[in-house]
Amino acid sequence: MSRHVWIRAGRVALLAATMTLAIPGAVALFAAGPTLPEDLTQISMEDLLNVRITSVSKVPERLSKAPAAVYVIRQEDIRRSGAGSIPDLLRMVPGLEVARIDANKWAVTARQANSRFANKLLVLMDGRSVYAPLFSGVYWDAQDTVLEDIERIEVIRGPGAALWGANAVSGVINIITKSAHDTKGGLLTAGAGTELKTQDTLRWGGNLGEDADYRVWAKYLDRDASATAAGAEGRDGWQARRGGFRVDWDRSSRDAWTFQGDLYGGGGDTVLIIPTLTPPSAPGVLSTFDMTGTDLQTRWHRKLSDRSDFTLKLYFDRTVRRANITTERRDAYDADLQLRRALNGTHELLAGLEYRMQTDATLDGPAFNLRPRFRDDPLYSAFLQDKVKLDGERLILTLGSRVENNSYSGTQWEPDARLAWSPSASEMFWGSVSRATRTPSRAESDVRWNTGAIRAGALFPGSPPAFLRLTGNPSLGSELLTAYELGYRAFPNERLTLSASVFFDDFHDLIGTRLGAPFREGTHLVVPNLTGNFAAGSTKGVELSSEWTVRQGWRLAGSYTRLELDLPPALGAGTAPSHQFQLRSYLDVSRDVDLDAMAYYVGDLPGLGIPSYVSLDLRLGWRPRSGLELSLIGQNLLDERHPEFAAASLAERLQVERNVQLKATWKF
C-alpha cells in the first residue's frame, strides 16, 4: 500500500527532475579481496576464520541513524563516477556547492557563500585536518590519494563543531581510505585525456606477518590548462607526484594499530594580479606555484570492553606552498584521544581531548606580508557528548559540547543538541540546534596585502596614487553561527531512499572589512581596508535527495538544493547558486559493461557574473576479463567550455573545458 505511494512519489519526483537525496541506501558490504575465491565453501575453516570483513557495514548503520544531513559517497560511486579528483567526486553530494575556478583551483562549500577559500567547511583525510589556516580554506590541489583506495567519503552538512571542532561550521567532509587489510594485491591505473592529460597510479599491498598488512602507492597526474572565455589557452596547467603507505596491524583481539603517511610535490602555472601604482594598475603576472607536503599518522584503537573503547591518534603534517603572493611553511602536530563508553543501555558517552600545535614561517611577497612572520599557535580542545535513548531506539537525544582555546580568538563553547524520532525502523525525523565558530585565519589576523591600486587624482583632486591595503586585525573574535535544522529520512522499501532537510543558519560577528582613514607612505597613499567582526547575516535552504533502484541493474539518484544567502555583498552574496538539480543513473548494461551518467544544473552566481549551466558526464565501463576495466569518460559534454566560478583578485578568469578520457584499471 504505502510502497505504491512511495514509488509513485519517486516517479513524480523524477519526472519533475527534483530528485531527492540518496542516503546511502545499500550498505557497501564489502567486495572480497583479490585473494578470495568466488566460492568460499572451497576454503578451509581455518582460512574462513581469518577472512576479514571490513567494519564498513557498521558505519552506514551509524550514519543512517545520525540526526544530521549526512551523505556518503561509496567506493562503487567513486568507481562509476569517472571523476579524476576529490572535488570532482564531491559534485555528486546533494547540498554541496562545487565549482572549478581553473585547472588547479576549486571552490567547495555547503550552505554558504562560496569561494576558493570557503572558510566554513572542515575537511579531514583519515582524521587529519587539511583545513589550511593561512586563508581558512582547503587547497584542493594538494588533497588527493588513490581514488580506488578510498573506502568512503562522509559528508555532513550543517555544523559539526561539537564533535569536530572549530571551522566545522557549515559542513564536514571525512575522506576515509581503506584499511590495508582490504587492499592486498596490485592495482595499476593509467588514464589519458584531453584535460586530465595523465593520471597514473600504482599500488601494491601485502602481508607483514600474520596480523598486519601494508600497502604502498604512487600516483602521477598532469592537468592541461583550461581556457579563457575567448578560447585561448589559460596559464594554469600543473602536475603533481604523490606517494604513500599504510599499515594496519591487529596486534591482539583488542588492539588495532594504523600507521600511514603521504608525501607529495607538485606545481604549475598560475596568474597573479599584483597591483602597481603606475598604469596598468592591476596587471596579470604569469607566475608559478609549487607545493610539497608530508604527513605521518598513528592511530591506536583499543577495545576496553564490549561497551567501551578508545582511539588515540597522533599525526604530523607539514605543508610548504610557494606562490608569488607569499611562501608559507606550516607544521602541525596533533594528538587526539577519543573515549566511548556505553552506560546501562540508555546512555552512550563520547569524550575527546585534542591538542594541536601549528607553527608557520612565511616569506614576504611583492604585495603581501604577514606580521609576525613566524607564529606558533597551540590549540586545546575537549568535548563530551551523551546519546540518551529516551524511548529505546525510537527517541534519541544527543547532547554535546566542545570547549576549545586557540591563540587567535581565545576560548569558545560549541554546544549541540539533536533529537531523533524514529516512528518505525524505516523512517526518522530529526531536528537540531547547534552553535559553531570559525576561527580567524592567519591572514585575517596578520596580513598587509595590497589588493588594489587607485589612480592619482581619483581620491580627491591632485591626490597621489594609492594602494588599497587589506589590513589584518590581531584582536579579531571568532565568527559565530547558531544553526537550526530539521530533517527526514526514510527507506520506504528496499528500492527507495528519501531524505530531506531544511536549515536556517544565523551568523554573527562575521569577519568583514571597512575602509579606514588614508595615510601617507612615502610618495603614495594607503587606503587601509580594516578587518573586523563587523557583519551579521543568515542563510537558509532546503535539500532533497533520493535514490531509487528502478530494477535490478539500474539505479537512479537525484537531488535538489535550494539555497538563499542573506549576506552583505562583500561577504559573498551571490556566490552560491540558488537552485541546483542533479540526476545520476547507474546502468548495468550486461555483466561486463556499465553505462553511467550524471547530469546537473547549477544556477547562476550573480555576485560573480557567472551564468547558470547544465552539464553532462558519461562513463562507459567494460571489463573484458577479470581484474581489468576499461572506461571511456566524458565530462562537461554539453559545451566546449563554460565558466563555473571566478577567482577573487588572485587570477584571471578561466573556463572549464570538455574532457574526454580513457582509463584502464588493472587489479592483479
Partner: protein, 199 residues
C-alpha cells in the same frame, strides 16, 4: 534483550539497507545479467554461508536423521534475503556423499521440516526460546547469531569480533540431539559454551 553486539548490528544492517544489495545479488544469480563482479558483494553473508557448509562437514548425525533420499537439508529461519543467498550458495552442492538442499523455513514445525541444520538469523531472537525448545532433542544442528543463543539451548553461535567471524559452541547441547561434533570443530571454536556477552 541481547546487547547490541556486532552480530545484532550486522543483522540490523542486513535487514535494513543491505536488503537492496542482497536482493540484487539474490536476483542476480538467476537473472540474465547478474551483478558485476566488482559490485558490492556482502562478504559477511558469503562467509556465513561458507561457515554453514563447513560446520556440517564436522558433524556426525545419528543414523536415521536423514530423509530417504539421503540429502542434507539446511533450513534458514528468519531473513528471506539471507535464505536466498544461502540457497544460491549451497543448494545442490555435494558434501560427504550427500546432496545439500537449502530451504527457507516460514514456520518451524517440531520436526524442523526434516532439516538437519537450522540457522536462525538475528531477527528471530525473541522467538528463540520456543523455537529451540522444539529442537532440543532432535537431531538438528542449531546455529544462531545472537548473544543469548547458547544460553537458550543452541549449539553453535556466530559473532563478529575484530571484523572476523567467530563461533562459539556448546558441546553439551549437542548430546541430547545425538550429534557428534568433531574435535577439530571444537578446537576451532573461540569459546566452548560461553556466550559472547559473558566475555
Amino acid at each position: 534483550m541481547c546487547h547490541r553486539t556486532d552480530a545484532a548490528v550486522l543483522a540490523l544492517a542486513v535487514r535494513g539497507r543491505a536488503l537492496l544489495v542482497l536482493a540484487l545479488l539474490a536476483l542476480g544469480s538467476n537473472a540474465a545479467s547478474p551483478a558485476p563482479p566488482d559490485a558490492e558483494v556482502p562478504l559477511e553473508l558469503r562467509l556465513k554461508t561458507a561457515f554453514l557448509y563447513n560446520l556440517a562437514k564436522f558433524v556426525d548425525w545419528p543414523p536415521g536423521a536423514f530423509s530417504p533420499d539421503g540429502s542434507l537439508a539446511i533450513g534458514i529461519y528468519g531473513n528471506r534475503v539471507f535464505a536466498r543467498a544461502v540457497h544460491d550458495g549451497l543448494d545442490g552442492k555435494e558434501m560427504r556423499g550427500r546432496r545439500v538442499r537449502v530451504r527457507e523455513l516460514e514456520r518451524l514445525t517440531p520436526d524442523a521440516d526434516g532439516c538437519q541444520l537450522v540457522f536462525f538469523d538475528g531477527s528471530c531472537e525473541e522467538q528463540l526460546p520456543q523455537l529451540l525448545a522444539k529442537l532440543s532433542t532432535r537431531a538438528v544442528l542449531t546455529v544462531g547469531e545472537c548473544d543469548t543463543f547458547l544460553d537458550r539451548g543452541g549449539i553453535v553461535n556466530f559473532s563478529i569480533e575484530e571484523n572476523r567471524i567467530r563461533f562459539d559452541v556448546d558441546p553439551d547441547a549437542a548430546i541430547p540431539c545425538g550429534l557428534k561434533l568433531s574435535s577439530r570443530l571444537l578446537s576451532l571454536a573461540r569459546n566452548l559454551r560461553r556466550p559472547r556477552g559473558a566475555r
